[in-house]
Amino acid sequence: MVPISWYLILSAVLFSIGVAAFFIKRNIITVFMSIELMLNAVNLTFVGFAQQWHEVSGQIFVFFVMVVAAAEAAVGLAIIIAVFRARSTLNVDQIDLMKL
């Protein structure tokens, strides 16, 4: 069997990739996808720890995180579409009406 710490390391890798992509990527949809990746990393951690503690509540948490992620996806993509309609661009650098 694979030790649990490997899963945790994998989840740390995913989370770090998410964080990096959040800062590097310039397209809003990709930035949004990086957030989804971070949430998935969290889920993997929860499942891993749930097995370690023999606690079902870890899986319950995963379930709730998924529901929240779905809700966030709906709202987020609606916002993205609204922004695209108003500005016709999805580049983060060009969405800067409100700088000093």
Binding site: M33, S34, V47, Q59, A70, A74, I81, R85
Partner: protein
Amino acid sequence: MTLRRLVHCALALTVAFAGLAALYLNLGAEFAGLAQLLVYVGAIAILIVFAILLTRGDDTAESVFSPSGLAGAILAAAVFAVLAWAVETSGIVHPAAIPAAPPEPMRSIGLILMHRYILPLEVIALMLTAAMIGAVILALREKRPQPEQIQRSSAQ
């Protein structure tokens, strides 16, 4: 995440979701694995592809090796180093710790959901309602100006 084309990014993400689902199943978490398949691969990936479709024509050309890219990579490496160090030093290496799955995992999840976590379950329904209202409000209002705007944006 280094791919240039948006659609390729989305596809890669979907594959990652599916891979995670396989890992959950491997860990003995059938419920989470199946839910992952349904929610992420089934719903969220589709939503993302739809968003790309609705906003198409905006493939932002970008270089991965920009200064901000370097900063991001360093940051990610730092985050990863801290997390990996924490995991390694916390002594969570129990190769034998993975038990045979409890006899009826689905049943126990259902029971816990309806007992201990009944309130969060009710409350999350409220969240979904609010999110639904919001998504509708933000994306579907202003029916008349909408076609003009799309025309204008495609003309540009």
